[in-house]
Assembly symmetry: C2
Homo-oligomer: 150 residues x 2
DNA sequence: TTAAGTGCAAAAGCTTTGCGGGTAG
DNA sequence: CTACCCGCAAAGCTTTTGCACTTAA
């Protein structure tokens, strides 16, 4: 992620904490920095590994709780796709995903044309649409080469 | 699900089993019928409950194993969206979903316009797209009324 | 000071695995 | 007959919860 964006996100974090009168702890800063530094849409466990390097004694529980908190503050996003574990995403603006059906890797897609797909008429079922996301499924580079050599 | 479609799906199941020389057991038939009969994109546990009614002694393990097998045979689909449990879908053809961000309910969307969204250029990352799905997020009827009365 | 956060241990929810006995083809 | 399936129990992985101690504001 761009250094400038990171810096601003961290400043936003500090401000949101001040506004709400909640402590900006070492752990929280480190966990936010870890997500901002990973481009792999890490699972909570992957974030835990990364953070453990900087704060050796940190607990998994704190990572889970903090990821939830950062998500609630709008500082990070959840990547919604099938798979055993939830994945987190530093990119909070509208974007789409390539999802590998073999290894569950998630790659960002930025394409304005996808931000304006036709919204179906959902008045019959009483559903209110606020948001949408396009998922492209297929095979990533790694898994493609693996399938070629059986 | 339409009775005719159900009947044909069950026939297809019998034939696939014969072709592959694998037994079409009572349990498998019942599990397939259960998924075809539920329009709620049931979790494995919901399928288990439904099947238990017809086959009182059936085990969760068999339900999990069979859902996997039916998926591998292309007889049912997995609904890919964030949430703790995997959900199964009798509709195996291209379609899209409304996902409630409050209760995780999944509702089918059939809209041809969504079947032809622009496919982004993924040659740079070496990803081969085979498929896509649009997810509309928002609030379902139930959760909307709940939020109105806090 | 004091409300909130942290770590630990334990539990909960979903799913998979190993194994002995049973059953469809 | 024989390969495959079934149910049971146990374990695995991700995530949540309760509680005593610590820390940021």
């Amino acid at each position: 992620m761009d250094t400038d964006v990171k810096r601003r996100r961290l400043q936003l974090f500090e401000q949101l904490c001040r506004d709400r009168g909640i402590p900006a702890t070492v752990q929280r800063r480190a966990i936010l920095e870890a997500v901002l530094g990973l481009t792999t849409h890490p699972t909570a466990d992957a974030v835990f590994s990364e953070v453990s390097r900087r704060i050796p004694g940190v607990s998994r529980t704190t990572v889970y709780r903090t990821l939830d908190a950062l998500f609630a503050m709008g500082l990070i996003a959840k990547a919604s796709h099938a798979g055993s574990a939830v994945r987190y995403d530093p990119n909070t603006s509208a974007h789409h995903h390539l999802v590998c059906r073999n290894c569950d890797a998630v790659i960002d897609v930025i394409d304005e044309r996808l931000d304006h797909v036709p919204v179906p008429d959902t008045s019959l079922v009483g559903f209110v649409v606020t948001d949408h996301q396009v998922q492209f499924r297929g095979l990533c580079k790694n898994c493609r080469t693996k399938e070629d050599e059986p």
